[in-house]
Structure formats: C-alpha cells, structure tokens
Amino acid sequence: MTTTETPRRNDVSASTAMSSAPNPLAVAVRIVKSPHFARLLFPVFLFAVWHITLAAVEQVWPFAVDVLPTPGEVGAFMWDEFITDTLARKNLYETFYISLRRLMSGFAIAMVLGTALGLAMGLSRATNAFCHDWTMAILAMPALAWALFNSIIFGFDDRGPILTVILAGIPFVIVNVREGVRNTPRELFDMARSFKVPQSRIIRHVLVPSLLPFMFAAARYCFSIGWKGLVIAEVFGGQDGAGWTIKFWYDAHRAHGVVGYAAFFVIFAILFERLVFEPISRRAFRWRPQLQTEVVEEAFTENQDLQDQERPVR
C-alpha cells in the first residue's frame, strides 16, 4: 500500500517561522527577490521610461509637449474622471454602465448561440461540415470590419455594438465547445452506463463538468475579444459608451484623454478577470489542486490524453 500524498505548499511557511531572529539584511533581500516586489516595480519602471522618453523627445522636438501627455497629465485626467468632473457628455460610471450593458447582452447571446452551435457541431459530422467554413470566416474577419458594417446598417443605436460583440466572440465559443464535446471522457460514460447510472445524472455529473473547462475558455475569450470589438463599434457607430468617449477625446485633440480613457478600459478588463473569472475558475476547478488557473485549459487536454491511453484496445 502506498500513501504518497501531494506535498503541501504551506510547509514552507513552517520552516521559515522557525528562524526566530530575522536578520534585517536577509529580510530586505527576501523582499526584493519576491515576485510581489517585482510586480510592484513594473509601474515604477514604466513611469520612469515614460518620463525619460518624453524628456529625450522634447530635446529634439520642443512642440512634443503639446502632443505627448505626461504621466502627471494622464493621472490628473483620470482622477477628474474618477470624481465625475468631466467635459464629456456622460461621466465615467454612466459610460461604463452603457458599455457593460452592451457587452453583457452580446456576451450572453454569443455564449448561448455559440454553445448550441458548438454542441451540434461536436455531435454531428454533417453539422460540422456545414458550419465549419463560415465559423472560420467569421473568426478571420477583423472586428473593425464588423463594426463599420454594423454601424452602416443599424446607425447609432445599441444594436450595432451588440451585434459586433456577438460576431467577434461567437467563433471562439463555437470552436471551444465543439472541442469540449469531442474530448468528452468516453471511458467515464462507459463506467456510468455499466453501473446503470440514470441519464440525467450522467449529464449533470459527467457531461457538464467535462465541458466546463472548455466553456470557461470560451467565456474568457468571448469576453476579452467582445470587449475590444465593442469599443471599436462604439467609435464608429455609437453616441455614448467607452469607445465613443475615447473618440470624443481624440476629436478634442486631448492625448491625455485618449490615453487615460484607454487605461480605464484596460483596468476594467483586468478587474473583471480578477474579480469575476478567477474566483469562479478557482471554485469550479478546485479538484485540480496542483494547477494554477492560467493553465487549466491546456492541463485538461493533457489529462485527456492520458485517459485516452487507458482506453481498452480491442
């Protein structure tokens, strides 16, 4: 009988706690070497590069100061936006609410339609043959083209941006769900069937969990690609929203406004990933203790390959 257990990462803290009198130099070295410190160092490094580049450019071209924003200008702009002191028609919160509403509508429709199509394509060869080429065509189409096309057709209301989100995101959902269906663990279905487990329980406990990593990859892609597509659509076919507001600052010839608003856009995407996707992913995939959330999709296919090898050869 073997009782090999996965090593616990917490054991490290136990061994460090034993050294009772810490040497200040050693502590400083440990802080500098820690990944958190390196992470925090990055923005400092970024601002330094920004500042130095700006100073260098001004040496050769004095008018640069009118065009290129300094970190201070961008920071001041972002703060003003943050406290809703803005020249734009709608404040930061209203703008992001509008964009988020469009994004979520498009995202939900893309997920539902994409899942249905992906399931059909994974289960039926004929459906796959019928849909495969146009899925690839939509995948290859730049979001910019959808944005322009939809703004021509729908003018300046919500439909253009929402349709752009759907079209930008749906191929990723279709392809991921289809691969999920193709990779369902057949040996687990055989196991369930031989134990005469009812069909409804097989769907709930075998099919759905095995599709989940693929659904998750689909949702993440659909969200980030859709978010980018939305902004482009709002630039051309919106009268409000984050994309429109970036365009507003562009028209007003305010470089710090363009950069600042784009920064809000990035921050929002990162916050969403951190506060929504990561916690859900951690919870849904807590059965994979040894893996980081970033690599779950790849890791799942590796497990799948292992399980494939275990299938009985007749």
Binding site: M1, S194, F195, V197, H205, W287, P312, R314
Partner: protein, 246 residues
C-alpha cells in the same frame, strides 16, 4: 448466489475482409462464491468477453444470462484505470453510482472506504490520491453497490508491483468476507493463481481452450512452492497451446 450461463457465444468485429473473430463458440457456467480468472494473450477476446458480460457490447450470436436467485443479477465493475470522476470527491464518486443518497447509503460507502483503508480520504479529490489509492476507490465503488457479481478488467496492471500485491491481498479479503462472485480478467498468470479457484484460458481467435481448477488453500503466497507449481502448470498449458509464441 449468482449464476452466469454463457451459451454458444460468438462475437465478430467488422465485415468482409476486415472481419475479426473476437470470441468463437464460448460455452461456460460459473456459479456460487467463485473467483474466476480469465487469462490469455493480448487479442484473445478476454476484454471483449468482459464487455459483453457487462453490457457495454452485444454478442453477434449466442446468449448470456447473469442471474442471482432467479432474478437478474446486479453487477459491479472495476476497470483497468480507476475511472473516477476527477471533479467529485472520493465519497461523491461512490455515491454517484448509488441508487439513492440516504444516510444508510452514505454509511455503507464509508464502511467500504474503510475496508480499502481510505476511511479518512472521503473528502479528497481523486487527483490528490496516488494511483494505488485511486484504484482502491474504484474497488470500494464496485463493492459498495453490493453487487451479486463483480467484474474486474486487469485492475492492477497499471500499478507498481508492491502496490499491486497489497491490493491483491485486500481484494482477496473482501471476496472472502462478502462472498461475492468475482470474474477477473488478467494477463498475469501468477496473479490468477494467487487469487482464483478457477482459471479459464483463452487462445487467440477467442476460443476457450482450458478450464483449470486451483484447489490450494488461501491466502496464497506467490513464493510458496505449491503456488509456484500451480503457476508453472498453467504456464505449461500456455506452452502446449503455443500461446507464449504470440
């Protein structure tokens, strides 16, 4: 007590030139508290026979009846790989194949987990267990539905020798204690001799060529002279049938 009656069982795969005969005219009766091992070289149809017994595949012709005291027998399975749901805990994996989740069922699951010495691992996910532990969960899962007959398909072939030996001993105890019928597929003659009171030898082409009774007392130690002699006897049958050449 369970009864297995196999009559004129025939199984083919493919058609025309691609036709492969997996089982040819197999007739067999197994009854009572027996531990029957099916041995033979790769491609002799032993896995196919098990798949037909478990209902994963249907025979081309012939009949298979698995009954227990006149009614259809309840079967349990242990597979080559543990085949656990990786996203469910050990206890939930056992409950997954149960008819209900009542407190008695849960207690029964816990009892069988303790029998395979994993009583404290119910809350773990399969990924947190070693290969041997996972296979023991698979064994507990098969026993805890309290089947009339237990089918096992090379359950220890993926494990290291020491773990496999420990699990063989546990399996023997559980078989002796629960009085179940076990049908055990293996390519390891030593394993078959150590565990079974009857060994069925299959040859390529799916023919049942020998039916050997092993009348040695349990527990059997592989290093024991009598066990070694019995193993040599079965291996000699293999040689006579020219099974080793393939």
């Amino acid at each position: 007590m369970a009864d297995i009656k196999i009559k004129n069982l025939h199984k083919e795969f493919g058609t025309g030139d691609d036709k492969v005969v997996a089982l040819e005219d197999v007739n067999l009766d197994i009854s009572g508290h027996s531990f029957v091992s099916i041995v033979g070289p790769s491609g002799c149809g032993k896995s196919t026979l098990l798949n037909i017994l478990t209902g994963i595949e249907t025979p081309t012709s012939g009949t298979v009846d698995i009954t227990s005291d006149g009614r259809v027998a309840a079967p349990g399975y242990v597979f080559q790989a543990a085949r656990l749901l990786p996203w469910r805990t050990v206890t939930d994996n056992l409950l997954f194949v149960q008819e209900d989740r009542s407190s008695e069922t849960k207690q029964r699951c816990q009892r069988y987990l303790e029998m395979v010495q994993l009583g404290d691992k119910g809350d773990k996910f399969p990924g947190e267990l070693s290969g041997g532990m996972q296979q023991r969960v698979g064994i507990a899962r098969a026993f805890c539905i309290e089947p009339d007959v237990l089918f096992m398909d090379e359950p220890f072939s993926h494990l290291d020798a020491i773990t496999a030996r420990a699990l063989r001993r546990e399996l023997h105890h559980m078989w002796a204690e629960t009085k179940k019928m076990v049908v055990f597929v293996t390519h390891d003659v030593g394993e078959a001799v150590e565990l079974s009171n009857r060994i069925l030898v299959f040859a390529k082409g799916g023919r049942l060529t020998d039916d050997i009774g092993v009348e040695l007392p349990f527990p059997r130690d592989p290093s024991d002279d009598e066990v070694a002699v019995a193993k040599a006897h079965v291996l000699r049958k293999f040689e006579e049938l020219d099974l080793l050449a393939s």
